[in-house]
């Protein structure tokens, strides 16, 4: 009996490709980890994630390069096959779009898992590390499956699991009231905002389309666009609302700056780096794959993106908590991605294929760039938390001397997100500016605002970098050491990616080419991309490789010319430098804030109008539920309960129909 089962398993593994192996390994770690309280519990899961993410990286790269689509079916519950819901097997399709986002996901998971080997030492003896491992694996698995399923019912179930697992990770440090509160808020917004909106959308769509598969819904929507645009916009509005809430677009951004910072650093990097890209994936899927591009959605997304990047970054400018600052920047950068996405859809619908294609490239490019540098930033902030236990930028400082490697990584990430050439952030932002500004549409203005916001990002990261690493600290940092090897390597990998992605934009361009081909969008022939130069013939061209080469030549020369003698501590106005002399994060740019006050007032008004009441209402009405959620030990039953509840709701709804 047992032998037979084992033989079947091996046979199955041999027959299927490594994706199945990955899924099985992740599921296996889910079964094992809850029972191991110690470090091993987390390590098992991290090792599995490390391994599987490497596999998925390779597979998705293969798909992107060859352009072939990988499909496989994993048997799940053979008996659960009620029309229209088919749970007998899970069909995974890795097409270029999925592959691109899987690549992004698995790169970040790889770095985060590696980082986790060091970082979880923080919780040793304090927390149940098995649950950490469980949720971590589940989070990864759920994200991967969300990206690769082709069935709306399965999609929503994995989406649920993604939210739930990440929610437990956010409030993992359960003795911190802030973390618990953030977790509850995150849960409420995700559940009642995003998920239920999506459930409504999916229920309605599937009921109307009489199918739950993506392809079927796609046909239905495309028909609807011609026959009944009103209904199309109604249905997609529900979808988009849910997705925008999930990716924290303004004005639904409020949960993110509370939730993301509270999670352990490597989970923060996953949340900001990858999870908020999943809705972007779904938007691409919904608006470019499942339906034809429409100007209305394009413009709407672009405008929302612009507002998001503006508000998010302007608020980031005034933050004084390292991870909250980064979280606000996540909002801002999602704004950039949305702007590019919207531009692409809008221009495709208008027929400006050249700029539309560049915008599509920019969407994908900025998504991966943001994933890389934001993860890196969260990891560096985490390294500081790991060593000093605080995120307060007002008191931190001077760590560059004691954590030089982390400092260099943070500098690279900061320059990348600021869009300093030749790092990757510049390349994708440049594409955004070019595609928006030269379009001579209303998008030009959005592009100009995006360009301004880029300098606000820069200023904000001057603050981030200097308050952490260079100016004098107000706490004792003299005994701080560099982070352990796994954490340092993880940071290093991402830092190198920051540079390589900028120097070699071909990855994004290839991906967007194969995506455009897959989606049947036209690829403008007039564009030629050399291996190192991004060129739009006769209009614009940059070569970051050249800039980088020149920098590599000049910087050492200049450094050699200006080599200093290091002498004892400096002084100010005749006295030794004291901690009170170092400028606190709260004092940066105060006058700018006072003069350019409009966004702050606007943001507050939006926040109070849209979010506060809703959140308070939810909090008041859900005290019991939240009590249960505080305890990760209760997580499994609650998962099952809520997943079943959702599932049954849909089934009941369909049956009743």
């Amino acid at each position: 009996m047992l032998e037979g089962a084992l033989l079947k398993l091996i046979e199955f593994l041999e027959m299927n490709n490594p994706i199945t192996l990955s899924v099985i390994l992740l599921v296996a770690s889910l079964i094992v980890t809850p029972f191991i309280r110690g470090l091993i519990g987390a390590y098992i899961s991290l090792a599995v994630c490390l391994f599987t993410s490497s596999i998925l990286t390779l597979i998705s790269l293969k798909v992107l390069i060859t352009g072939s689509v990988v499909t496989l079916t994993i048997p799940l519950l053979p008996w659960a096959k009620y029309y229209p819901i088919d749970l007998s097997s899970v069909k995974l399709v890795i097409d270029p779009l999925t592959a691109y986002f899987t690549l992004l996901l698995s790169i970040i998971v790889f770095a985060s898992s590696l980082y986790g080997f060091g970082y979880v030492l923080r919780f040793r003896g304090k927390e149940h590390l098995g649950w950490y491992g469980f949720n971590y694996s589940l989070f990864f698995l759920a994200m991967f499956l969300t990206l690769s399923v082709r069935d709306f019912i399965l999609f929503i179930i994995f989406w649920e699991l993604m939210t739930l697992s990440s929610q437990f990770l956010v409030s993992y440090e359960k003795e911190k009231p802030r973390a618990v509160k953030a977790g509850i808020k995150y849960f409420c917004i995700s559940k009642f905002g995003a998920e239920y909106m999506l459930i409504i959308a999916i229920t309605l769509t599937t009921l109307l389309a009489m199918t739950t598969s993506f392809s079927g819904v796609g046909e239905f929507l495309k028909n609807l666009q011609i026959n009944d645009p009103t209904l199309y916009y109604l249905l997609t509005s529900f979808f988009m609302l849910g997705l925008l809430i999930k990716c924290a677009a303004v004005p639904f951004h409020n949960w993110l700056p509370e939730a993301h910072p509270e999670a352990p650093a490597n989970v923060s990097s996953l949340l900001s780096g990858t999870m908020i890209k999943v809705p972007i994936y779904m938007m691409l899927r919904l608006l470019l794959d499942l339906s034809n591009p429409t100007p209305a959605w394009g413009l709407a997304i672009a405008i929302i993106g612009c507002v998001t990047l503006f508000i998010g970054t302007m608020y980031a400018l005034i933050q004084v908590d390292s991870k909250v600052l980064l979280a606000y920047h996540s909002i801002g950068q999602i704004g950039y991605i949305l702007l590019a996405l919207g531009t692409s859809i809008y221009l495709y619908s208008l027929g400006n294929y050249l700029l539309a294609f560049i915008a599509l490239t920019a969407t994908l490019y900025h998504a991966i760039n943001h994933a890389v540098f934001k993860s890196l930033l969260f990891l560096t902030a985490g390294s500081v938390v790991f060593r000093l236990g605080t995120r307060d930028l007002n008191v931190l400082g001077g760590l560059g001397k004691y954590m030089p490697f982390t400092a260099v990584c943070a500098l690279i990430a900061a320059l990348s997100i600021s869009g300093v050439p030749p790092f990757n952030g510049f390349a994708s932002k440049w594409m955004i500016y070019f595609s928006t500004m030269t379009s001579s549409t209303i998008l030009s203005f959005l592009g100009a605002i995006a360009m301004f916001i880029s300098s606000v990002t820069t200023a904000s990261f001057i603050k981030y970098f200097t308050t952490l690493f260079t100016r004098e600290a107000k706490v004792d940092v003299s005994k701080v050491k560099e982070v352990p090897a796994p954490m340092a390597i993880a940071q290093g990998v991402l830092a190198i990616l920051c540079i390589l992605l900028g120097l070699y934009p071909m990855l994004a361009i290839k991906a967007s080419k194969s995506l455009a081909m897959y989606l049947g969008l036209s690829i403008p022939k007039v564009i030629s991309y050399g291996p190192i130069v991004v060129t739009v013939p006769g209009k614009a061209s940059i070569s970051l490789l050249l800039i980088a080469t020149l920098l590599v030549i000049t910087i050492p020369i200049v450094m050699a010319v200006t080599k200093p003698k290091i002498v004892p501590r400096p002084w100010v106005a005749g006295v030794g430098i004291r901690p009170q002399h170092s400028i606190p994060a709260s004092s940066y740019y105060r006058d700018f804030e006072l003069v350019y006050y409009e966004p702050y007032g606007l943001g507050r008004r939006l926040y109070s109008a849209l979010c506060v009441d809703f959140i308070n209402w939810l909090r008041r009405s859900l005290p019991k539920l939240s009590l249960g959620l505080e305890n990760p030990q209760n997580s499994l039953p609650i998962y099952i309960a809520i997943a079943l509840l959702t599932y049954l709701t849909i089934i009941a709804g369909l049956r009743w129909w």
């Binding site: 106005a573 006295v575 030794g576 002399h581 105060r590």
Partner: protein, 546 residues
């Protein structure tokens, strides 16, 4: 006027023995009646504290004395309130709770003479550096030799950690031309709290005057109290001595003193304008104002033999005459300066960025100004109408006609306006005096000497009222010489002005009172560049006022 003085003197008799001399009323009172006396003077006589003097009179009467010098501007008199302080455990009741402006001078007496002030709101030292000073070293006591240093060797200047983000202005800073330390606690770029630490330059001039120098040498040393307004110190000193010795210098000497004092005021105010414009980044204004100032300096050089430190003053008269050819030159320069100054200054003061960075900046409320007993243009810009030239007439000022410009803006801009008008008034005074110089000798023939006689001499320095108090000693020497420079009264008000202001405006605010730190720091016997600092926090100052 005279009858009013006698009336007041009669009333003051209720508080102790009263002695009246020309322009000075002295009340010898005791601790029990002190409070009532002060309240009476503040409420009925509108008195203003000039300074507090501590004297070690143990060799004479086996006690110390503390003398509070009040100015009653309406009656044109100074009132000296003298208190006897026992030799053993010297302590006396403080008047700081009643007059916050007495804070510094009382603490100075405490630091340098070891006299405790009971009920003084702060225990912090003003000048002494705990740990760095020799124990029981009270340099102004008579048994302390003038050549002995009070500091233990190699002190380190360092500051105590404070909350918040602080920006240090000084002791070495491009906006300050002397070593003073302001520590500004800043939020963003707004100043939340200001601290001051001064008394870093120590020349021991008072002690020197009481020990090594005789009364004829001191005018030259007194002139070196300040690098800008030295002559006013010299005149205040000679007036104090002349009052103590009962000498009346010849009229011509008085005229020459007045002329030189006004020349000094003109160049000092022009210098101030230059500094203000420089601090505001407007270097063209700075250069132009100093260009206009140059003839004034050359004029001083012609009249006295030096651009600064005129050295023409002596007890009983002056040393140099102004002859006809020089008179002509003076008139020429006055006209030229007036023309160029009026032509340019309004243009400079009307520049948008100058207005923006001075109007409403560094406001000193009238009530605060009164409470802190500020003087000079600083007071007049806060609509306190005082001017020693008019209120305590000296030298040739009774013979000249002039207005006292007053402004009610209370800000840096009004201080500039007051000074602008004062320059024009001074030029007119010079013109008036120089055209009718009386033909008398330059100085008295013989200077009679009186032992143990006291005198007060006050002048209106460019920065405000400058008070010198002397007690003569034996063999042509002084027993006590006390200098109250105007900046000493004005600097505490800076802490009020700085609060809530923009960091960028701090140098302009500090410059606006035209602080002269070397005037303020004249007292000590030590000559070390560093010492630890004592703070006068704004909160503490405020607590004095409540």
């Amino acid at each position: 006027m005279r009858s009013q003085v006698t009336e007041v003197a009669k009333k003051l008799k209720a508080f102790g023995e009263v002695y009246v001399r020309d322009g000075v009323v002295k009340v010898v009172t005791d601790e029990d009646r002190l409070k009532d006396l002060i309240l009476y003077m503040l409420q009925s006589l509108n008195a203003r504290l000039a300074t507090t003097v501590g004297v070690d009179t143990r060799v004479l009467t086996h006690n110390y004395r503390v003398i509070h010098i009040f100015s009653i501007d309406d009656l044109k008199i100074y009132v000296l309130v003298e208190l006897k302080v026992p030799k053993e455990r010297p302590a006396v009741r403080s008047i700081t709770p009643l007059i916050p402006g007495a804070d510094w001078s009382e603490r100075e007496v405490r630091d340098l003479l070891g006299i405790e002030f009971k009920g003084h709101p702060t225990k912090e030292y003003l000048i002494r550096r705990p740990k760095l000073w020799l124990e029981h070293a009270y340099p102004l006591r008579k048994d302390y030799p003038h050549s002995k240093k009070v500091l233990v060797p190699s002190p380190q200047y360092d500051i105590e950690p404070t909350k918040g983000f602080s920006v240090a202005i000084g002791p070495y800073h491009p906006a300050l031309h002397e070593p003073e330390h302001f520590e500004l606690v800043v939020d963003g770029e707004r100043i939340v709290e200001a601290r001051y630490c001064g008394f870093m330059v120590h020349r021991g001039i008072e002690k020197l005057g009481e020990s090594r120098l005789d009364i004829y040498q001191i005018p030259f040393i007194a002139e070196r109290i300040c690098g800008i307004c030295g002559f006013t110190h010299s005149v205040a000193y000679t007036q104090a001595v002349e009052s103590a010795l009962g000498i009346d210098p010849p009229e011509r000497a008085k005229y020459i003193r007045s002329i030189l004092l006004e020349i000094e005021r003109v160049h000092s105010h022009l210098l101030w304008f230059g500094v203000l414009f420089h601090v505001l980044g407007f270097d063209t204004g700075f250069m132009n104002v100093w260009r206009i100032r140059e003839p004034v300096m050359e004029l001083a050089e012609l009249l006295t033999g030096n651009r600064k430190t005129y050295g023409v003053n002596k007890v009983g008269g002056v040393r140099r005459d102004i002859d006809e050819s020089k008179v002509k030159k003076v008139k020429e320069v006055v006209n030229r300066v007036r023309k160029e100054f009026t032509e340019l200054i309004d243009k400079f003061l009307n520049l948008s960025e100058v207005i923006e960075r001075t109007k409403g900046v560094g406001v000193l409320e009238v009530s605060d100004a009164k409470k802190l007993c500020v003087v000079g243009p600083n007071a007049r810009a806060s609509s306190i109408d005082i001017d020693t030239r008019r209120d305590h007439p000296y030298a040739a000022y009774p013979n000249a006609e002039f207005k006292v410009p007053v402004s009610d803006g209370c800000d840096v801009y009004s201080r500039a306006l007051v000074r602008r008008d004062e320059i024009l008034e001074s030029l007119s005074i010079i013109e008036q005096l120089v055209s009718d110089l009386p033909k008398t000798p330059l100085s008295v023939e013989e200077v009679p000497f009186k032992e143990l006689s006291e005198g007060v001499g006050a002048t209106e320095a460019p920065r405000g009222e400058n008070v010198h108090y002397v007690i003569t000693g034996r063999s042509r020497k002084l027993f006590r010489w006390r200098v109250r420079a105007p900046s000493y009264a004005n600097i505490p008000s800076l802490l009020y002005m700085l609060r809530g202001q923009h960091l960028a405006d701090a140098p302009a605010i500090i410059a606006s009172i035209d602080p002269c730190f070397s005037c303020t720091d004249r007292v000590l016997v030590i000559n070390l560049r560093y010492g630890t600092k004592r703070y006068v926090t704004l909160r503490k100052l405020r607590s004095l006022g409540e």
